[in-house]
Symmetry: C2
């Protein structure tokens, strides 16, 4: 698993380097700032899900490369904006100073805007070069997942309820949207580009839903029991910020149990793919045992 | 001219209302915030340029409606982010409180992100519903104009040089990118959707370049001699913020002369279209005489 992950992280990193604007292009600072956050040590979970789902369905991951890179750019923009003083005001991410701590709030804001814009430029250019309805369908899934029906909707609810108690339903909404939507779009866009049929898409949607939940709950768990050095950020920040999390609602033990339960559900959803799904199966298990 | 403008502003407003998410959709506050700024009294210069250029070339403006709306959403997002404390920290725009003064910095930031995301969702959905390479070509032009090669590049240079003196070349870069790029994309995307040939595209590119310059210089002039009530914002803010403008470099008289010169160049660029270009011709003249 680790070797396969390393291989695909390198594939993603090389493709991102190719699809991002050159650091030497004027005005340099914005391209430096974009690249700083894109290459700040992300785990590449979303692009890897996109590539490996496409590969499982079609046998070829390369056709999903521009899509996988665009998703990682969207993910990175959301982190840069999330870290800004106007939002979570975080100084560190993955053990490195956040974008605005290096480049200032204005450039960080624009670097986020630029990554979002560039993601759609890459996607549209891919569609323009390859007349193929599947690409436009994949873009539709990604655009919805990134917007107010998806990720932004989750962030809005996160802000509205900061410091307030929320019910279970609202917390599921928040996490399903804030984190889950783009994870699901990663799997589904890879599947669509790979030519998945409706039965396969339904199974993969279920897989992605459970993986997204398990992933988010594990994030909450690690914020309590994690190792600061491995996480690259202070633990206990959710409690400090009065955030409602799965741990604050269910307690640590039940939250850890839910990670196991949802991981199992995700694995089961893959059954129709048989042995071809070994990577996606092992990946969700790997994520459920991560330390950072 | 005024009647024709009113008619097209109404057409744009109705289309924006149709293409924006419903205010009643959860979470409501983000949709309210998006609509607050979109309907805060913008002059709709970009969408009208897009629609009227398309109409001049093809006889039908309706095919450009989703494109015109997406451009106005991108323009609006850029204003919301520009007004944030991290950027220009402006409290008023068009006589109304800026987005973050009403909704707070976090929601305003996300409303900008959401408008940018939604613009590309609208564009991509239009391409998905109408298999037509022209739409993808128009999206390419818009994406480049909105990114670091265009608008964002101009904003970055604006930030880098705040309070510093800049040479003429840098100021032209800044304005051509910050304001000019999206204005040019409005004209060109309308032309592309309308099926313009290369000769027409070249003429319209020239028209848009000169219109964009005349427009920006007029903005700088109005910041000095304008009427606060008509402008809906305080005059003298460029000088207060130590901004390099056409007026600070050339002086008021030469700046006003340049508006006239560039307007004349824009009109001349339209000559190949003959009488069909009467609206675009009168529009650039109208803009050069505006009071706000």
């Amino acid at each position: 698993m680790i070797d396969e992950l390393k291989k695909y992280i390198e594939i993603v990193d090389n493709a991102l380097d190719k699809y991002l604007p050159d650091e030497s292009s004027y005005p340099q600072i914005i391209h430096e700032s974009m690249r700083y956050s894109v290459f700040a040590g992300g785990k590449r979970i979303r692009p890897i899900l996109c590539l490996k789902t496409c590969e499982m369905v079609s046998g070829d991951y390369t056709v999903a490369l521009p899509v996988a890179c665009a998703i990682e750019m969207i993910h990175t923009y959301s982190l840069i904006h999330d870290d800004l003083p106007a939002m979570d005001n975080d100084d560190f991410r993955r053990g490195k100073p956040t974008n605005h701590k290096i480049y200032g709030d204005a450039i960080a804001l624009l670097a986020g805007d630029a990554l979002l814009t560039h993601a759609f430029a890459v996607l549209n250019n891919y569609a323009l070069q390859n007349p193929n309805k599947k690409i436009l369908e994949a873009i539709e899934v990604i655009a919805k997942a990134a917007g107010t029906e998806g990720m932004i909707g989750g962030q809005v609810v996160d802000i509205i309820y900061q410091g307030k108690s929320i019910d279970e339903k609202t917390m599921y909404y928040m996490h399903n949207h804030k984190t889950g939507a783009l994870i699901k779009a990663s799997v589904l866009s890879g599947a669509i580009i790979g030519g998945a049929d409706d039965v396969q898409l339904n199974a993969l949607e279920k897989y992605a839903d459970y993986l997204g939940l398990a992933f988010q709950i594990m994030d909450d768990v690690l914020d309590v029991i994690g190792n600061e050095k491995q996480l690259g950020k202070p633990v206990g920040s959710d409690a400090k910020n009065n955030k409602c999390t799965f741990v604050s609602i269910y307690g640590l033990d039940k939250a850890r149990q839910l990670v196991q339960d949802f991981t199992k559900e995700a694995v089961e959803a893959l059954s129709i793919f048989g042995e071809k799904s070994s990577f996606l199966r092992e990946f969700v298990i790997y994520l459920s045992k991560r330390k950072a």
